[in-house]
C-alpha cells in the first residue's frame, strides 16, 4: 500500500522540482531584465 502512495508522491515531487527550477530561472531572468532597464536609463 505504501508503494502506491510513494509512487504518487514521487510523481508530484518530480514535477514540482522541475517547475521550481523553471520558476527560479524566471526570477533570475527578471532580475537581469531589471538590471538592463536600469542601465538603459
Amino acid at each position: 500500500m505504501n508503494y502506491l502512495y510513494t509512487a504518487y508522491a514521487i510523481t508530484w515531487i518530480i514535477h514540482i522540482t522541475y517547475l521550481v527550477t523553471v520558476s527560479q530561472r524566471y526570477s533570475r531572468l527578471r532580475k537581469e531584465i531589471e538590471d538592463l532597464r536600469r542601465r538603459a536609463k
Binding site: 508503494y3 502506491l4 509512487a7 514521487i10 518530480i14 531572468l29 538592463l36
Partner: protein, 230 residues
C-alpha cells in the same frame, strides 16, 4: 493569449484532482494485484505523454533542419526537457509497481527497458544542448533528435527479441482491460496532457525571454564594449 494560461491552469488543477479521486477511490480494485495496481493510472498516462512529447520533438527537429525556424527549435528543446521529466516518472513508478507485485525492482521488460533507453537518448540530447559551445547548437541537436527517433523502432525490436529469448515478467500485464479502469486511465491521461501543455508553455516562455535577453546583452556588448554586462 495571456488570459488563456490561468484559465488552463485552473482547468488542469481541477482535472488532476478529479483524476486522482477517480484513480484512488472510484476505480475498481484489481483482483490479483490489489490496490498497488492503481499506480497504473499514473504510470501509463505519463508514458503516453512522454512518447507524445518526444514525437513532437522529432517533428520540430525535422522542421528546424528544413526551415531553420526558431520557434521549432525552442519547441524541440521544451518538449525534450518536459518529456524527460515525464519519462523519469515512468521509470520511477514502474519499479515501485514491480517490487510489491513481483518482488523485484527491475526487469528487462520490453516497455520499461525501451523507456529507459529513450530516457538515456533524450538526456544525452539535453546534455549536448547544454554543453555545446557551437553557434549552431540547434542544428546539431536537431540532427541528434533525428538519430534518436530513427533508433526508437530498432530499440524496441531488439529488446523485444531479447525478451523472447530471456522471458521476464511483464509490467502492466497484457490482455483486455476493464472498461471502468479504461475510463479512469483516460481521464488521468487527459489531465496529465493538460498539465504537460501548461509546463511546456511556461518553459517556452522562459526560453523565448532568455533568448531575447541574450540577444539584447550581445547587442549591448557590440555597441558599447566598455560597459560590464555580466
Amino acid at each position: 493569449m495571456k488570459k488563456a494560461f490561468p484559465i488552463l491552469a485552473v482547468i488542469t488543477a481541477g482535472l488532476l484532482s478529479y483524476a486522482l479521486y477517480e484513480a484512488l477511490v472510484v476505480a475498481p480494485t484489481e483482483q490479483t494485484m490489489g490496490d498497488v495496481q492503481r499506480i497504473f493510472y499514473y504510470h501509463v498516462p505519463s508514458a503516453w505523454t512522454a512518447f507524445l512529447l518526444f514525437f513532437i520533438n522529432f517533428v520540430a527537429s525535422v522542421w528546424y533542419l528544413i526551415r531553420r525556424d526558431t520557434t521549432a527549435d525552442i519547441l524541440a528543446l521544451v518538449t525534450a526537457e518536459v518529456g524527460v521529466v515525464f519519462c523519469t516518472v515512468v521509470l520511477v513508478t514502474g519499479p515501485l509497481w514491480a517490487r510489491p507485485v513481483w518482488g523485484i525492482w527491475w526487469t528487462w521488460d520490453v516497455r520499461l527497458t525501451s523507456t529507459l533507453v529513450l530516457w538515456l537518448i533524450y538526456v544525452s540530447y539535453i546534455l549536448l544542448r547544454r554543453f555545446s559551445t557551437s553557434g549552431q547548437t540547434p542544428v546539431l541537436a536537431a540532427a541528434l533528435a533525428v538519430f534518436g527517433a530513427l533508433d526508437v523502432p530498432l530499440v524496441y525490436f531488439s529488446i523485444w527479441f531479447f525478451r523472447t529469448q530471456h522471458p521476464q515478467p511483464v509490467i502492466g500485464g497484457g490482455g483486455s482491460i476493464d472498461p471502468r479502469m479504461l475510463h479512469v486511465l483516460l481521464i488521468n491521461w487527459l489531465a496529465f496532457m493538460c498539465f504537460a501543455v501548461l509546463v511546456c508553455w511556461s518553459r517556452y516562455r522562459l526560453e523565448r525571454l532568455q533568448r531575447d535577453v541574450d540577444e539584447t546583452m550581445a547587442l549591448e556588448d557590440l555597441l558599447d564594449p566598455r560597459s560590464s554586462v555580466r
